[in-house]
Symmetry: C2
Subunit: 493 residues, 2 copies
Amino acid sequence: MKLKIKLMGWSAGLPVATLNAKTAEKLGVHTKDRILIKTISKKPKSISTILNVIHKGIKKDEIIVSSELKKRIGLKISQIVEVSLAPTPRSMFLIKKKLDGNVLSLKDINEIIQDIVSNSLSEPEIALFIAAMYKQGMTLKETIYLIKAILKSGEKLNFRGKYIVDKHCIGGIPGNRTTPIVVAICASAGLIMPKSSSRAITSAAGTADVIETIAEIEFSMKEVKQIIKKTNACMVWGGALEMVPADSKIIRVEKMLKIDPKAQLLASIMSKKLALGSKYILIDIPYGKNAKVSKLKALELKKDFEKLGKYFRKKIKVILTKGDEPIGNGIGPILELIDVIRILDPNKDGPKDLREKSIFLAGEIFELTKKAKKGKGVAMAEEIINSGKAFEKFKEIIKAQKGDINKIKIAKFKKDIFAQKSGKIKEIHNKKIASLARVSGCPVDKLSGLFLYVHLKDKVKKADKLLTIYSESKSRLEEAMKYYRDKKPIKII
Amino acid sequence: MKLKIKLMGWSAGLPVATLNAKTAEKLGVHTKDRILIKTISKKPKSISTILNVIHKGIKKDEIIVSSELKKRIGLKISQIVEVSLAPTPRSMFLIKKKLDGNVLSLKDINEIIQDIVSNSLSEPEIALFIAAMYKQGMTLKETIYLIKAILKSGEKLNFRGKYIVDKHCIGGIPGNRTTPIVVAICASAGLIMPKSSSRAITSAAGTADVIETIAEIEFSMKEVKQIIKKTNACMVWGGALEMVPADSKIIRVEKMLKIDPKAQLLASIMSKKLALGSKYILIDIPYGKNAKVSKLKALELKKDFEKLGKYFRKKIKVILTKGDEPIGNGIGPILELIDVIRILDPNKDGPKDLREKSIFLAGEIFELTKKAKKGKGVAMAEEIINSGKAFEKFKEIIKAQKGDINKIKIAKFKKDIFAQKSGKIKEIHNKKIASLARVSGCPVDKLSGLFLYVHLKDKVKKADKLLTIYSESKSRLEEAMKYYRDKKPIKII
């Protein structure tokens, strides 16, 4: 059917087309079907994309295209194109091939990833790819292909430097905000640390949410390069960089399905590190009760990362850390930032556990890069923090990201929670603590969250303060109190 | 977040809610996320549904709901409701349980099917369910549970009668339009045949498309009952009956994925037959080269249907028929209808293969219901056709469905294709023939399609007519000619 191009009033962020319901009916297509748009010329260009059907705001002889789609095949407003139901892309057969237990080639995986990026595969189709990876597993070779394909589909930083380092934590531990501290220490010592981070998905805060409380986090690759040139480092939101668009789309469907196949987890982390040009990578895997992974699973991941490091010729060190309880005092964007500053500022006194872990991680990076001799990394990191240099570096990076560390605000409402009996802290449940912080408003309400006064094995007396809940909304504070009473995230024996 | 109810300007056909993009951002939700809508009262009602985010046409403090959603929990325009991100439904964990190789209980499967119907599961989540059925298979028990759950979620016909019969063909053979002929013969003999059919998905025509050329096919259960009371039978589109809404949704995702797990195929067919109250069911499974299934797979399906028949206490007979080539002359809605009428009208001469197969199927039904003695069914069916009674019955049913058999029209354009050499017909490729008919305009352009003059093993001379392509569009006719030359669906040796 011949239709006239109309441009979408906003950016959909991805290639997508919209038709009038009557036109769609005539074509025999429905919302989420794949349609083929073909230009009319001697050398026609074509693209397949996912369809959206609406009832108002479009004429029967029109097709609304997103600016991404317009750009992809160079469409002009009012241009006439041929629109039809698109054939199934070959990548669907490749996904089925995987689901049937076959091994995919680099070419196969490239094709699947390209189709994911170009929106030729719908979310149910991506779900099938995830199910196939989950059920059949991926060989090391396939995982490597997946990393290469994801990398190929995105943008790279292309920053030159001998000492480009990165750290990554697989997450799951509330309050465990080591990144800003490690970045500040390492950058002070002359290491290059282009840190891209994620926002919270199921946790109370991601590093991106924490930094966003006082600075900007959405920059282009070009801007990131400038920030790094100035300060040796950055702490930005990975989502804005278009480094790994395929990964972002797969993760979006994974979140719906609550399935996270190992190959995709490895590829997601590795592709980002490689896109940023990291040569030394420290990976922190917290394990234990209520952590993301058991010790067994953590050891398995460690081996996988080491193999991938060898293949891609990167120095990767994987450390397993205890993850039985939250780390630090603050849980939630601003409260975690306050912990970070209390640790970095030599005139203040921050939570010991978070300070020690951050210094340990920075020390490991110093030894990995041979900036420090074996066994001397921690001392070097400690000295940098004590000297105030790390704090200065942190302020410098925040300033380069158009921020100001004096922007810190405190939530309007708070409520303390007290021990109902004397005894010893037996459990502080990671997932319940994260949920409690989310009920109070995290991560959207950046000032909300928790301040934890206790840790495992601490002795408490009846009526001792266990934690304070902060929120910008009185009703959410009430909900959080109710959640605390119902779920009992802290157990005393 | 508290929002004001606004009603959608049209029926979405399913429970769905729409938010302003700014509001969605504040809530931290995206299009296709699952949100929870909760009424504010002492006994709040709540429902979870899939979200749609738009940029215009809705205020920040509003939520647009579909009429289905409004009805489901009794919402009023301008009513204030509490909206939040919905927790993952338990059915998602059940789907994962299946994917991990566990067997599901009736309660489990009921929960999944209920969530599919109520739109609490998104399409990627349904895709995961399909992948789980595909990879793990379903036991006979699970298949029975699936049938029961699908039945429970829909409407039944509730027609009383001793001789309610049905026939089903698993499809895949172009031109194989036996249903209208079998229905006419059986209904003439006093059998009750409430036939619901599908539209074409990948074929040139479904029975629903064929009947729609001259009659209406969308009726409510109540109307269907009236038609059957009058004529003993009907030939309507199953999609309008809301018999198996869960099945329709699963099939929609299956089509995207090009995956059709056996349990779902069995459940899809059986649930519809049971919803219509059929007591005698004849199932036709064409097998062979380029058919849907091999002989082995056909035998396996036969056994499954027989087991299900035994469990549900229905007389099921499964017959395997040769499906190596198209049947009849016409392929496409109106061209197949013309075949049907040429066979039913005693004054006309229709294609022998289609006539014989239809009589054979009707004969089998007569023997299954004991209307005829063993070995006498075919003779009985033949007599009914020869007497003109079947043709009268067919016209009666068409009339009851507000149709008229004199409505038949012929396509504007046609083109003949001739043999390029003398020899014997070696292959008439089912799938390529179906695609050729689709290129010419099927099933949307009901007058388009093919007229086949030859069958396998026929001897032809160079320049003999092989087929005629019909179309309402000159350009589609050109495309079809090109497709024929490229794909060569007919081979001569």
